[in-house]
Amino acid sequence: MELNDFLKKFASVFEETPIEKFSGDTKYMEMEEWGSLVALSVIAMVDDEYEVELQGDDIRNSNTINDLFEIIKSRL
């Protein structure tokens, strides 16, 4: 599982934020577009693409996209 690929998939869940804004250090909960629907979309995307189940707490207790990347990798 590769970070760049994950960043693309993560960004695809957002409607209005350009892909350049996404990096491993991005604090996703501070993004303007972030909200409950986007959070649920991330959970659904991760289940679809990696067959890993993220819980709401995983999203709320992590900070950066890289944090989520590491959680998913550990559950593959």
């Binding site: 629907l37 649920l40 659904a44 819980q55 709401g56």
Partner: protein, 248 residues
Amino acid sequence: MYNPFSLKTKKILITGASSGIGQATAIECSKMGATVIITGRNKKRLNETFNKLEGDGHAQIVFDFENISGINDFINLIPCINGVVHCAGINDLTPFPFVNEKKLNKIFSTNFFTPVLITKEILKEKKLLKGGSVVFISSVSGPICSCSAGGLYSSTKGAIHGMAKGMALDLAVKKIRVNTVQPGNINTNIFKDGQLSKEQLQEDIKKYPLKRHGEPEEVAYAIIYLLSDASCWVTGSNLLIDGGFTLQ
């Protein structure tokens, strides 16, 4: 003592009785004098429900309906009953772009196919007595409204809502009544996997004129009415238990 809502002498089957609305319904029915047969997947929590029941003669059956073909086996385990309450249900908050066949199959299986087919088999084996009562848990979600990422759940409740009406017509000849309760957001484990945060639930509470979510007992009381002889002229109806949510 005069009590038109008494469930004395009635045997009631309650699915999903390990937690939430099912657990509260089982306990309250037992307090109203019913003999209850409770079923659920979780042995430990089902037993907790069983230990809280009042009176005796009750039964508990640990059963996982994930395999729908198991329904026939289950029906052989139950006696003749006067009522059935289908409380087993799941949610799956999924933004529509991520809805897929697997998710649809899973939620429809638990929330729609299983309760409908259990009822059918109970009738086929002539285990629901004349004058009996079938209660489904519908929701405000589905027949009236939905919510963000709520399409999967809404669609199953819309389906149950519709099926209950058709069933009510077909079973009237047997004097069997079919009704639903339509709860708003109730304090149960349905969101225990953290799909909604505490903050989101607090925000949601503000939408309720009565300024709180409902308690499982408050749904159980409506179910008791529908199971009792007091509602013997009530069929195809839906009791709204929503704290005023759908008024606005």
